[in-house]
């Protein structure tokens, strides 16, 4: 890219920024970086330029880069939820491509800044992750690459099992466990006079030990990472540290998992609006249209989140701009409030509520959506009723699309074994993966681990004791 191109790009960005301001988009200061393809793909594979090293990222990177080299797919940009917001543009993008991308990225940033799910995310994550990477590097030097790698393998296997709920305190399992000292604090420094403190304590009734054992944890705990970090008896300090850091990274990424459809829909909605407001030549318009359609192209076997999100936003705008007679009378909906409404939706909803609240029969028909499943060797369309389509979409977005697993008992059999429960809601787990994931949890917990799930409507318990697997119906 010549300095002349650079000037042109800066000029275009200034124009786009002005248009975006006019539309009321609200974003962080922007830092655009122009990067070669392998760098963009590195960032794509790691999720963040500064993230720690791990072979699984290398594997993803290799796969993505190969698809790019063979011309099968292309990432045009990458945008980071941070303040200031970093956006990485692919070196070699044409000016018109960059215009679309900059518009798209501005809307992403607006979403990051204003959507409620993102309100707790760490906006300095670029630096935090760099620090994490540095610390992990340090541990690798101290305890050895293999050791650290194996531990990270285990953590990554359950990394999605955090509790990102907005009402929950960031740290701490809850007061009920307060009397159960976390494993890491068990070794207190002793001075020889500790018994003096006991004089102040109220006398405990002797019978307490004979009472029914209290549950631990008192309520099922969804945050597997936090629970293991606090109570695993065998973790070393550096392991706890890595666990904490990786949990932080997952909590940072979580809102993105929860708002994939909305976020992409929102960005696609705005890049279209902004591009329409620009003064394009005929040739530019054609190039823009080609790129735009390649972004929002519907696909047959999975839903394109760009397309679906865009269509729902447009539908909401239409319905609030032109409410029906009934909506006006019963809901007091004023015409012409479409824009306001979509800004409100982008602030308060996540994919789950977005689909549940705004998917309509009309949309399902217009988009020709259907439910399909495997019947024998064939994948068949089995349902076209819009409520079922909507519900199926909602199910697929529950918990970011991951199985919901909780710690049921951290002291199972009174021997400190870990008992996990999969909250079965109609979709079975991949059993081979269950059997291969349990050893990782065993590596973290250090004692036998169990997972209860449901197969063909019957509860089943998978166990792994460090040597062998066991599977039994309950």
């Amino acid at each position: 890219m010549t300095s002349d191109d650079m000037k042109q790009l800066e000029y275009a960005i200034a124009e786009i920024t002005e248009i975006a301001d006019g539309f009321g988009l609200d974003y962080y200061p922007m830092r655009y970086e122009i990067c070669p393809a392998d760098i963009i793909y590195t960032f794509g594979a790691y999720g963040m330029p500064t993230r720690f090293s791990h072979w699984s990222f290398g594997k993803t990177f290799h796969k993505m880069k190969m698809q790019y080299d063979f011309g099968l797919s292309k990432i045009y940009e990458l945008v980071i939820n941070s303040d200031p917001c970093y956006a990485f543009l692919l070196d070699g993008n044409s000016l018109i491509q960059n215009k679309l991308i900059v518009s798209h990225v501005l809307a992403h940033c607006d979403f990051f800044k204003n959507n409620f799910r993102f309100s707790k995310t760490n906006r300095n994550m670029v630096e935090s992750m760099a620090a994490t990477a540095e610390r992990i590097r340090q541990y690798e030097i101290e305890v050895g690459n293999e050791e650290v790698e194996q531990f990270i393998d285990a953590v990554l296997a359950i990394q999605e099992h955090v509790d990102p709920s907005l009402t929950k305190p960031y740290r701490g399992i809850g007061a009920a466990e307060a009397d159960r000292a976390p494993a890491k604090e068990r070794k207190e420094r002793t001075f020889g006079y500790e018994d003096l403190w006991d004089l102040d304590k109220p006398k405990k009734p002797q019978s307490k030990a004979e009472e029914a054992p209290s549950k631990f944890p008192a309520k099922p705990e969804k945050d597997l990472l936090l629970f293991i970090e606090e109570y695993s008896p065998y973790l070393k300090e550096w392991q706890r540290d890595i666990l904490t850091m990786l949990r932080d990274e997952m909590l940072y990424f979580w809102p993105q998992l929860e708002t994939k459809i909305m976020n992409e829909g929102w960005a696609s909605y705005w890049h279209q609006r902004i591009m329409r407001a620009l003064d394009l030549t005929d040739a530019e318009t054609i190039e823009y249209s080609k790129l735009n359609s390649s972004v929002v192209i519907p696909s047959r076997h999975s839903l394109n989140p760009y397309y679906l999100g865009l269509k729902i936003f447009e539908d909401i705008e239409r319905r609030w701009d032109h409410p029906t007679q009934e909506e006006r009378e019963r809901l007091g909906r004023e015409p012409g409030r479409g824009r306001d409404k979509i800004f409100e939706v982008r602030e308060f909803d996540s994919d789950l509520s977005f689909i549940r609240n705004y998917m309509t029969k009309q949309l399902c028909d217009d988009l020709d959506l259907y439910v399909f499943e495997k019947k024998g060797p064939e994948w068949k369309i089995t349902d076209k009723s819009w409520e079922n389509i909507r519900d199926q979409l909602v199910y697929s977005r529950v918990n970011g699309g991951f199985p919901y697993i909780v710690v049921q008992d951290g002291d199972f059999n009174r021997t400190g074994e870990l008992y996990l429960q999969h909250n079965y809601e109609g979709i079975e787990l991949d059993l081979k993966y269950v059997e291969r994931t349990l050893p990782y949890i065993h590596r973290l917990w250090g004692k036998p681990v169990h997972l209860e799930t449901t197969i063909e409507e019957k509860p089943v318990l998978f166990s792994y004791d460090g040597k062998k697997h066991n599977r039994k119906f309950l």
Binding site: M6, E33, I39, F57, R300, D368, Y370, F372, E373, I381
Partner: protein, 386 residues
């Protein structure tokens, strides 16, 4: 607005190598995993059946990123049509499930989905495997037969035989000299301009090997037994080809009679009837005596059978084997014995004690690799191997 809300920059990223470093780490893990899985891979159909392919897909079980996930095949999904989708439309067919029987061991409900396919160069795989093998009892054979002469014209000199004159270079030299002297053009060729091509004799030592692949094709050899034999011969021929320039392989199939067959027939044709192993051995002995003198060939007969030989024939077999062992570098007998029966042939062979006679009983797929290592053991002092 006074301060710009954005900056555009372009930096030098050439030192940012993280992606490539981790990619290398991943590939290294893939290689380690392959090494660990060699016993399974040796009998993997996709490899044994991949004649000639440069890159093979290798199933690796340990490198997927395992986590709790939903069973994709057992859940419902939402898709999008082009406007005319109907309930009952078929979107696609699972190739694995539709393939029907014949998939062998993968009797789980979704065969092939539980591992991650890594692409590996066939050559790399061979190097890894053959790294652990070595040809036993390799002998230096008669000199004139292990040496091949080749004449290559590869040098140009000022002196030589007129018939080998290099006209083009001679004229070039003349042109050069004339223009140096100030009168360009081709004229007055002097002896100084002459250039001759000369040759060199390249002597490459060459060795010959003969493999006698003998297989029992009697009725008792099922598809498993045949498959094992095929995997073994597949690797053995490949291994020997890396050691010898010319490997001759003769396929001998036998039931009560033995005959020489083509490679394709050898692996595909099923026959029935009883088993008389000595017929194959007799044919092998005849073959060696007729056309492959042991003085010039390294001979490796291998025989695969299920061990179900006609009892009265065993004595003859033992006698013929002692004959064969005299002529060859190594005689390998592999018995495919899935159910651990006591076989008549094996009990006869147990008493044969000759360092050149090696036998191995294969009970399951994974043991083909062990058989290879038994037949081609790497000696500790054998520093000759690559």
């Amino acid at each position: 607005m006074s301060e710009p809300m954005f900056t555009v920059s372009r930096e030098d990223w050439s030192l940012h190598r993280k992606g490539y470093q981790d990619q290398t780490r991943h590939q290294q893990k893939v290689r380690d995993a392959i090494k660990q899985n060699l016993p399974d891979l040796v009998t993997d159909e996709s490899i044994v059946m991949s004649d000639g392919k440069q890159i093979v897909k290798v199933p690796i079980r340990s490198l997927d990123e395992y986590r709790f996930r939903y069973n994709y095949n057992k859940s419902k999904h939402v898709g999008q049509g082009t406007g005319d989708s109907q309930v009952g439309d078929v979107l696609g067919v699972d190739p694995q499930a539709a393939q029907g029987p014949g998939k062998g061991e993968g009797a789980g409900d979704q065969p092939g989905e539980d591992y991650y396919d890594a692409e590996v160069q066939m050559e790399e795989l061979q190097t890894m495997l053959f790294d652990e093998l070595e040809l036993p009892n390799l002998e230096q054979k008669e000199k004139e037969n292990v040496v091949s002469k080749e004449i290559i014209f590869n040098d140009v000199r000022k002196k030589g035989i007129m018939s080998n004159i290099d006209k083009k270079r001679t004229i070039l030299e003349n042109l050069r000299r004339n223009s140096r002297d100030g009168s360009p053009g081709i004229h007055r060729i002097s002896p100084d301009d002459l250039r001759f091509r000369t040759w060199e004799e390249i002597v490459t030592p060459q060795s010959n090997a003969l493999i006698l692949a003998m297989m029992d094709t009697s009725g008792s050899m099922g598809s498993f037994e045949k498959y094992i034999a095929r995997s073994f011969f597949f690797w053995m021929t490949r291994f020997l080809r890396t050691k010898y320039e010319h490997v001759e392989i003769v396929f001998i199939a036998h039931h009560t009679e033995a005959k020489i067959v083509t490679e394709e027939e050898f692996f595909t044709k099923g026959e029935s009837g009883g088993t008389i192993c000595s017929s194959a051995y007799q044919l092998a002995v005849d073959l060696i005596d007729r056309g492959f003198p042991p003085a010039r060939y390294n001979i490796y007969p291998f025989h695969f059978s299920d061990g179900d030989n006609l009892t009265s024939d065993n004595e003859r077999c033992v006698k013929l084997i002692t004959e064969l062992v005299k002529r060859c570098n190594l005689f390998g007998y592999g018995e495919v014995n899935q159910y651990n029966r006591s076989s008549t042939l094996m009990s006869a062979y147990r008493n044969l004690h000759d360092p050149k006679f090696v036998h191995y009983v294969i009970r399951e797929k994974g043991e083909v690799y062990k058989a290879l290592r038994t037949f081609f053991p790497k000696r500790l002092e054998g520093s000759l191997a690559q």
